[in-house]
Amino acid sequence: MHRIRSFILWFAAALLLLAPATAAAAGHEASEPGELDMKSYIFGHIGDAYDWHITTVNGHHISIPLPCIVIDDGLHVFLSSRMEENGYTLNEDGKLVNAATGKRPVDISITKNVCSLIISSILLVVLILLTARWYRRHDVMKEAPKGFAGLMEMLISMVTNDIIKEGVGKDYEKYAPYLLTAFFFIFLNNLLGIVPFFPGGANLTGNIAVTLFLAVCTFLAVNLFGNKHYYKDIFWPEVPAWLKVPLPLMPLIEIIGMFTKPFSLMVRLFANILAGHIMLLGVVAVIFLTAKLGPALNGSMSVIAVLFGVFMDILELLVAFIQAYVFTMLSSVFIGLSRQEPAHEHEQLETTNN
């Protein structure tokens, strides 16, 4: 896993180095027709939008209009294709603003990401409830599920036994529903993100709002149910007294630690998925960027790009699983740490001395 992550980091770093150059090149020649605008190409794919762009045929965009819900002076609901008629427009960041005042209203539109979120959530609920239905209709003592329910059982058992039970420890059943939901939510959305056409393709788990929400959930799960020992370790840790009074150095560090843990969860998932999307887009972009270099070079580069794209896609499948796994595992471990019972006094001292 470490190797994969380091590879991703390495590749992302290389891409970051290349990106300004290509973007600048694209920017210079953007005026020429048929030229690829790298910036809008990549950000169009990884960013959010008010309509779901399917494809472009002969310069004509084919996209699914999505409903915009705006609270400005009262509630306004309209399709994104009728934005202009309702007095709204997009600013340079691609955000919806009031056309007259140029101000951002309270915007709870069903954007591309929200639409993807709704689809994947329905899919998730259906998948899990279908599995649950199998159990309701069969006698588990007599038969084990086959096919889809069997696959789901394997995954659920794996997450429950290998991640949640190991991480949380005692009373893990209380946290299992949240952690399982988080695992399957992340895993399913990661997978849908790799699918390049309509129901998938949105960069949901690579969106900071989504990972922020998940991290906040873990933060709440850790800190709302933390035991006395956990809070004692934060506000009055077992360190020399001068580290605690008069300046509460250690408590301060511990309190910062409370927030850095979920913060790292948020950034890890966000950055990994975003980097994966950018990498895939970059590899595909090679085909279009080399188009004007002549058919021979373009053809050979296309072959390389496709091969590399296949490799990246498979790698992304792995990353999709690994990131869901890591998020759930770390959440479990953080929850487990907040519920750790103090061991024997001298053992406690030993661990702190170490």
Binding site: I110, I118, V125, I156
Partner: protein
């Protein structure tokens, strides 16, 4: 940069939808599945434990059986050995007895033979005595056919008797 600023609209929907998904799955989905899986795995574990126990008791039973057979075999060997010894002893005893009997019989026979021989010898001696007396009678009768001879002998005998009487006195 819009990439790292959380969008309010998405956050709002995310909260709402994730809450609903979590509620539905936590109520109707995961606990049911994990409960059932746990139930089954528990029952499998129980069955495995039972099987292990059964196997252990079977092993014990087999060991006991083996021990029993071993003991029976030992007993059998012991009995056979004893029987062989007893048989040997009987044969030995019989032989001993036979020898004793034979010896006794031989001894008896020998005794009888001795007695028989003694009797025969005695009879023979008597016979010889009688014969010699008869012969002596005949001889004497032939020798003492005249009167002077008889007188001479009487005198001689008296003389001898006197001599012997004198020596006795």
């Amino acid at each position: 940069m819009s990439l790292i600023t959380p969008d309010f609209g998405l956050l709002f929907w995310m909260t709402l939808i994730f809450a609903i998904v979590f509620f539905v799955l936590a109520k109707f989905g995961f606990p049911l599945i994990t409960g059932m899986v746990k139930k089954r795995s528990d029952s499998i574990e129980q069955s495995l434990r039972d099987a292990e126990e059964a196997r252990k008791s079977l092993k014990e039973l087999a060991a006991e059986q083996k021990k029993l057979i071993e003991e029976a075999r030992k007993e059998q060997a012991r009995i056979l050995n004893e029987a062989a010894t007893a048989g040997d002893k009987i044969v030995q005893d019989a032989r001993e007895q036979a020898r004793e009997q034979t010896t006794a019989m031989i001894d008896q026979a020998r005794e009888e033979i001795r007695i028989e021989r003694e009797t025969a010898r005695r009879e023979l001696a008597d016979e010889v005595t009688n014969l010699s007396i008869e012969v002596a009678e005949k001889l004497i009768r032939g020798h003492l056919n005249s009167a002077e001879r008889q007188n001479a002998l009487i005198d001689k005998l008296i003389e001898e008797a006197r001599a012997s009487h004198k020596t006795v006195n």
